[in-house]
Symmetry: none
Subunit: 251 residues, 2 copies
């Protein structure tokens, strides 16, 4: 069996079962678990699946999924979120993206922080209800259920009135060549518009994002003030980012 063939098989299985268990597939295909793991690792690096302990899950949540919530790489996201929250100075204005990692940032905010947070994610808004000292500004527009954020022309327009100090950007992929990528074209446009409205853009990049690439480009890496990640500084991708002059902020 050829490598590419085996990877196709894995992706087909992910589509069908919404999960893959390395051990089972190895037995089924008559190859070692090592090979399966290697394949899954490479597929994950390409953004085609999410690697988890024991196997892999589809890259994008299932159709009828629970909004933006996904229970993968939970503590990695937490570390990144904590580092991002530490960037927020009292009194500053911050644009907060949608997505699980951004949601984790709301959790990591110090109690009593006085700041203004602008977001296009109703989920983030709901999470900020617990921070009475934070002023919240919602960007409206058509709701993209896939990721539970407001997108589209109206949302982009609404964003034009904002002047923020920092934009905390969530993406699906951070790749030395492909730059910052995400799975939806409209979302990418929205993120781009938000990046223009902030002095500095920082990328929230939990480990599974590092080295991955999705279908739609958001921004080149040169456009951001830093990539916040808890991936090891020894990581191949992280080294390439640093070599290319992209500031990497360890979480």
């Amino acid at each position: 069996m050829l490598v590419a063939q085996r990877k196709d098989f894995l992706l087909a299985r992910l589509d069908r079962d919404r999960r893959v268990v390395a051990k089972d597939v190895a037995a089924e295909l008559g190859v070692s678990e090592d090979s399966v793991r290697r394949d899954l690792r490479e597929l994950a690096a390409a953004g085609l699946c999410q690697r988890v302990y024991g196997g892999a899950l589809p890259a994008s949540p299932a159709v009828a999924d629970y909004g933006t919530r996904r229970a993968v790489e939970v503590d990695s996201k937490q570390r990144v979120a904590a580092a991002a929250a530490a960037l927020i100075r009292p009194g500053s204005t911050v644009i907060l993206d949608g997505g699980t990692t951004a949601l984790a940032v709301t959790r990591a905010l110090p109690a009593g922080l006085e700041a203004t947070i602008v977001t296009h994610s109703p989920t983030v808004v709901a999470a900020l209800a617990g921070h009475p000292s934070v002023e919240v500004y919602v960007l409206g527009g058509r709701l993209f259920r896939h990721s539970m954020v407001a997108c589209g022309a109206a949302a982009v327009e609404a964003a034009q009135v904002v002047h923020a100090d920092v934009f905390l950007l969530g993406v699906t992929g951070v790749h030395p060549d492909a730059g910052l990528t995400t799975g939806d074209a409209d979302e990418a446009a929205m993120k781009r518009a938000l990046a223009q409205r902030a002095a500095d853009t920082y990328v929230l990049a939990s480990t599974e994002k590092i080295g991955a690439a999705s279908r739609f480009a958001v921004l080149p890496l040169s456009a951001v003030a830093g990539v916040i990640t808890d991936a090891s500084s020894q990581d191949e991708t992280v080294r390439r980012l640093s070599a290319d002059g992209v500031p990497v902020l360890p979480a």
Copy 2:
């Protein structure tokens, strides 16, 4: 069963049942209660749920708030919400106000309803996540934490682009003389702006609202197409409303 998958399962259960009992899930999945507790602990740490003795509840404080407030007149609100939901025709565009009764309307929507819902309440948006067939449009603006809705000049302006068939209006008081009232001036202005953008405005009036009056006027009763209430038609206030020519729709 993969770890990440199990966590996803827990989140799905939280969405479906609004709670999770550690012991039950452990039995259902065939793992130890320890493992379930550990998962819940981690999810809670990531802000994806709220840990309580015996299990977990959904994360959003807004929802938790809803949980505490809904104890008031829960049946009444549900009946009113059901009657309001029945007013929504497939294919129509509806503006849905904020507040607990409006939230109850989202729960009363028939599954698979194809309609467009416009709202300025992130909480309502979050609740609509479970209705994939409904198109959602969010009105942005400054967030009023008191009632968790977007208000202010920007929100009023954003509302100007909407043309809806029905506006389901929530108020704190429905009084024969004082008309429709609410507790906040900006909220009142927002509600007024929304009423102008819909062909018909219906008032969501659970029993405790009938005969009550708050500090700020929203609209005169003559401006609405109907008051939806489950208060008895023998009720003094209801009789006066009817006598004044206000259509009262029994829930």
